[in-house]
Symmetry: C2
Subunit: 693 residues, 2 copies
């Protein structure tokens, strides 16, 4: 059966791929046939709109079938435990193949539907009314095209058709990806390493941006002297390049980490950094674009413009941050107040979805960055709102955003592959490309190593050198870099950046992504993997997102009170004592944490359930997995406290909770998660620890 | 707590509604301020694009907040068991309110971004390149506007901004609604009443279309003689009106039926008819538009043109039908062959979603009707693919499409409310409106009563007169009528139709929808409702879609072998013996159903699981709900056969299965669903039946 099954599978794959090309060529062939037909009739406009709609459908269909093909192949890979190529890398390969076919195989006759005209308009309005022999037609502005593109537009309409509006990436595809990242970022290990993550994400990204920018400027100056550079390439362009290429996206690496159960701290550092540096890179790049000195000579250095850019960075970032957090808190409040909403899971899920989406729209409407707002909204939702949802809605929302993330991510990567051949204005300059690879490498090194050294001065739980090498290696570039560089490809400099960035993404995803397993063993980073475990995880990890962090390393257990970061400690106490009781039904009642003078207020704000829950250990950062004997259900982030340990803690204070959680949390994990996790060789039997308490 | 809770709730509602208006006015106010700013700078185009993007975000935000508000209010209604206003009716009311505000309260200065120009173009190309002092700008065709609209475009840009491209409804919002309808149409009662449903949907819709068309033509002729009709209104326009207004959408009525557990046959008839007549109305209306006699005088009667239209109707309908079914079957085959895909629910769900979406795109790309293809794809998916999915994916797909349906439906209805005030070219003609209401009423009557009479001649289980009155009453018009009439509002006739249709929708949704409970008791249609039941259903019906049909009426049980329709019987045998074994893992092995000569083929096609399952009763039409003692999980459509009845049937033939299913299916339902269903007074205790067998 197995051999026959895989034979059938292959046959089907071939069938599906045939489908892609047949349907595509049908779509391509339908154009000219339709044209003759429509020439005979009067209603030209209607026919044309219909035809263009058909073409759009066919184009989108290509992508959908590409995604389908990717899914089927991924499944084969997963089934065969083939770890050298991640789904995103695969999506790129399929995109490349279709791109080659579109470019070189399919020949479409010159399209007559593009007309160039010289109009007597002194501006370029958003809406244009054209009077064609008495009839009015409405046209909307799509954008400016450079003079050398004009001929391309006329020549190869078909290739232009499969090119999406770049804003689609920013407004439709990125938000679910970023939200999902934020929504998955609800980990004790994240908050424990918060200081280091913030340092890597903020300081590190800025360092990386400027190091890359300076190196590229050197490269550009050299090229100019060698006569290799055709047009202008300013320092701000170099900095912009540095900013957009600093957004790391180690989705491939993290998928393998998750599968191999690699060290949780390393996982948290990489994941946290990559999530937050996306936000930093977006705002940084828009601030660099906004750097606009006064006067005609717009590419000189000016302190005022720099300060303005810096102010803009702070303003946009903090604005987006507060907007995201605010919407998250409003959603938490709604779900907290409308407790009976839990009976109607559909309404609950819909509300959650709409509120999260409105964050994006609100931020964009206010002039902030929607993607950044959505990220912080996701983190807030995971931290507060999630706890107020009914278990079904928790599953539903997780699954919904998981699906959206999966589709959007693979779409972007397959589009990336396609673009390498269908984009019309590639400028591949070998010297620039070599310089860029070097700069990206140096920039990443300048981010990781010095910062790790500084951070290690303050950390008890050091970031070891093999972890540093791994982080260096995991500096993959992905969706964010692509979306930022395709957003504006009007000038020579931007086109060159775009082409180079594509190559950087391809190289890092295929080479670094593919070599993760080798790198892990080369760096002797231990991981706990067995066939049984993979099998278990695929069976039991239903609806649990990809960073469950339930592997237990020996080093974990040594963390004690002194070891936890002071930042985390302050945050934890504030969150546990005040925010959680106000926004969720868990945590101690406010009456016990606020000073006595605030008693009436505390009474008003505390939910009646908080008193009932008081005797329970309801802590949502501990991420336990409940695998009950008979039910194969996994509650990702719900701590169900039914054991004696939990019941004992009722009278204690928050800081004790924290200690206990830090010291013993993982042991409980081992206890409850025994079916999932194989204890490591250096770990003591979990029960001894537990009983000692 | 309850009083305090509802007070808080109300306060929050006020807060949220304030939000809507504040954010809206902020968005509205931002335009002029931004304009001054941009005038100072050079990069006008970029600024303009940004501004337009902001405005778009703000517009979309209005709708998102409207939906949020709707959800919160619906929840209040559901919580208070207030049945007079359904969520769709509510969404319309909120839409109306915002429409009034946009129209009369907010004043936006005349926008300078629209420029009218006389270009020397002899056609209206899809893409226009405009040369503005050396720079090229690309414009895309949005559509033709009539001469009298030109001033509106310039005057009230803001109102135009909140107007969506009508194609959005057809290409984005309708498909999930229609797919969900098809995907929920997996009911024994549907297949049992298949003949009647097809009659109502096909014959009935055509009757209704022509009756309404003729009546409206009479009305139009009268109006012309009275001088009330300003411009042309042809007979084809009248027929078109008849076609689009014949698509019923009794979502409100069905929601109440579901809640009140009204007779399942009535439910199946109404639901099945409304799902299928949408498809008929779409294809019918496009065929009427395509009716185009040769020569100049394009509004005379011509047999050839009629035949061409009729051929087109058949071609498009059967094409869309076969495309939808084909994609459904391909998906079923993939999920059947890639059995190990079940281990990766995310991939499975994504694949299902993509394949269903590609149906739509494929149909549109081939020139068929995507909505119709999606409907039949949904039915096929529910019937075959669904059975091959893992239980988690079954839940996931159901929940996903439930959510999409919910959002899209409420969006359309709130947009409908908005359009009443923001649409610029309403033509409300009192005489036409009165005529239309009359015609709609007569058309519905001419559909239901004669057909019911004819059907009753053949049916053993008669459609009683109170059922007929209820079906007559439940002829609500909704999303499909709206989407079809907003699609083209270029001519005078179409504008008048659109305005009239809006009123028809409002009236039927509010009056007929709101009066359903009264009508039910007036018609003495019994229903089983109790507080306990509602409570139970909200608790246990997780992931089960809205037509679970698990109420048991006394009349149901009397159905015997002779009573089932011959159409159903033929279909059931073919499906059970050949299709199910090929496409799913259930059903008898093909080796036992095909003649012996086909043995090798049968062996090749039969899944190994089929032999294992042979001794099980795995019938997926019986829609059982498993409510195990401790787990509050509901498997909507999975029959888990653990009882003795199932084991006994192993050696029987398919027709026995059918009899048993028809005769005893409901009893098993009662047995397993005792926690959900209160036995009716005239039903015998379920156990007696069961033991007797």
């Amino acid at each position: 059966m197995s051999a026959g099954g895989s034979f059938r599978t292959l046959r089907l794959l071939v069938m599906v791929s045939l489908c892609v090309f047949i349907s595509f060529s049908a779509a391509a062939a339908s154009s000219p046939a339709q044209e003759k037909d429509s020439a005979m009739e009067n209603i030209v406009t209607e026919k044309k709109a219909e035809e263009s709609h058909r073409q759009d459908s066919a184009d989108l269909l290509i992508f959908i079938l590409l995604l389908t093909l990717t899914i089927l192949t991924i499944w084969l890979f997963k089934h065969r435990r083939f770890r050298f190529l991640h789904e995103t890398g695969l999506a790129m390969i399929y995109g490349l193949i279709v791109g080659v076919i579109l470019r070189y195989v399919v020949q479409v006759p010159r399209d007559a539907s593009v007309v160039s005209t010289n109009c007597f308009v002194n501006a370029s309005p958003a809406t244009l009314l054209v009077n064609v022999s008495g009839k009015f037609y409405e046209y909307t502005l799509k954008g400016e095209i450079s003079a050398n593109e004009v001929n391309d537009v006329k020549d190869n309409e078909m290739l232009r058709k499969v090119t999406f509006d770049p804003e689609v990436f920013f407004n439709i595809l990125l938000p679910p990806i970023i939200f999902h990242a934020g929504y998955s970022l609800k980990r004790r290990h994240f908050f424990r390493n918060m200081g280091s993550i913030l340092a890597y994400a903020f300081v590190g990204t800025v360092i990386s941006c400027f190091v890359i920018g300076l190196l590229m400027y050197g490269c550009v100056v050299l090229m100019k002297q060698l006569g290799q550079m055709g047009e202008d390439f300013f320092f701000t362009d170099c900095l912009f390049f540095g900013a957009i290429v600093s957004a790391t996206d180690p989705v491939t690496v993290l998928a393998i980490f998750h599968e191999l159960q690699v060290d949780v701290d390393l996982y948290a550092l990489l994941f946290g950094e990559s999530v937050l540096n996306d936000a930093v890179a977006v705002v940084l790049s828009s601030s660099i674009v906004a750097y606009q000195p006064q006067g005609d000579n717009s590419h000189t250095f000016e302190v005022m413009a720099l300060l303005k850019s810096f102010g803009m960075f702070l303003g946009v970032f903090s604005g987006s941050f507060s907007l995201g957090v605010a919407t998250g808190i409003v959603t938490a409040l709604i779900s907290f107040l409308f407790t009976k909403l839990r009976d109607f899971q559909l309404l609950e899920t819909a509300l959650f979805f709409l509120m999260s989406w409105s964050t994006f729209l609100l931020a964009e409407a206010c002039g902030f960055t929607g993607v950044v707002a959505v990220l912080f909204c996701g983190i807030t939702q995971a931290h507060y709102t999630f706890n107020n949802l009914s278990p079904e809605s928790q599953d539903r929302t997780k699954q919904l955003f998981e699906l959206l993330n999966f589709l959007a991510e693979n779409f972007i990567f397959s589009y990336m592959g396609l673009t390498l051949f269908t984009f019309q204005n590639h400028i591949f300059n070998p010297m620039f490309i070599v310089g860029a690879f070097l700069a990206v490498f140096v920039g990443r090194a300048a981010n990781i190593y010095p910062l790790s050294f500084l951070l290690n001065l303050g950390r008890r739980n050091k970031i070891r050198s093999n972890f540093q090498h791994m982080m260096m290696f995991a500096g993959l570039r992905g969706a964010m870099t692509f979306a930022l560089s395709i957003r504006d490809t009007a000038t020579y400099a931007r086109q060159m950046m775009f082409s180079t960035n594509l190559l950087v993404v391809f190289f890092t995803v295929w080479v670094c992504g593919g070599g993760t397993t080798q790198m892990l063993s080369c760096q002797r980073i231990r991981y706990a993997v067995s066939d049984l475990q993979i099998h278990c995880s695929s069976l039991y990890r239903v609806g649990v997102d990809s960073d469950q962090d339930n592997s237990v390393n020996g080093s974990e257990r040594r963390s004690t009170k002194q070891e936890s970061a002071w930042l985390f400690r302050i945050w934890y106490n504030f969150d546990h004592n005040y925010l959680k009781p106000i926004l969720t039904h868990s945590g101690p009642p406010l009456t016990s944490t606020l000073p006595p003078c605030c008693d009436p207020l505390a009474r008003f704000l505390t939910s009646p359930q908080a008193y009932e829950n008081e005797c329970q250990l309801k802590d949502d950062d501990s991420d336990l997995i409940l695998t009950d004997g008979d039910i194969s259900l996994t509650y990702g982030d719900i701590t169900v406290s039914t054991d004696a340990t939990g019941a004992h803690t009722s009278g204690r204070h928050a800081s004790d909770d924290l200690d206990r959680e830090l010291a013993y949390g993982d042991n409980e994990l081992v206890m409850r998660g025994t079916r999932l996790v194989l204890p490591m060789d250096d770990s003591e039997p979990p029960f001894t620890d537990h009983l000692r308490m």
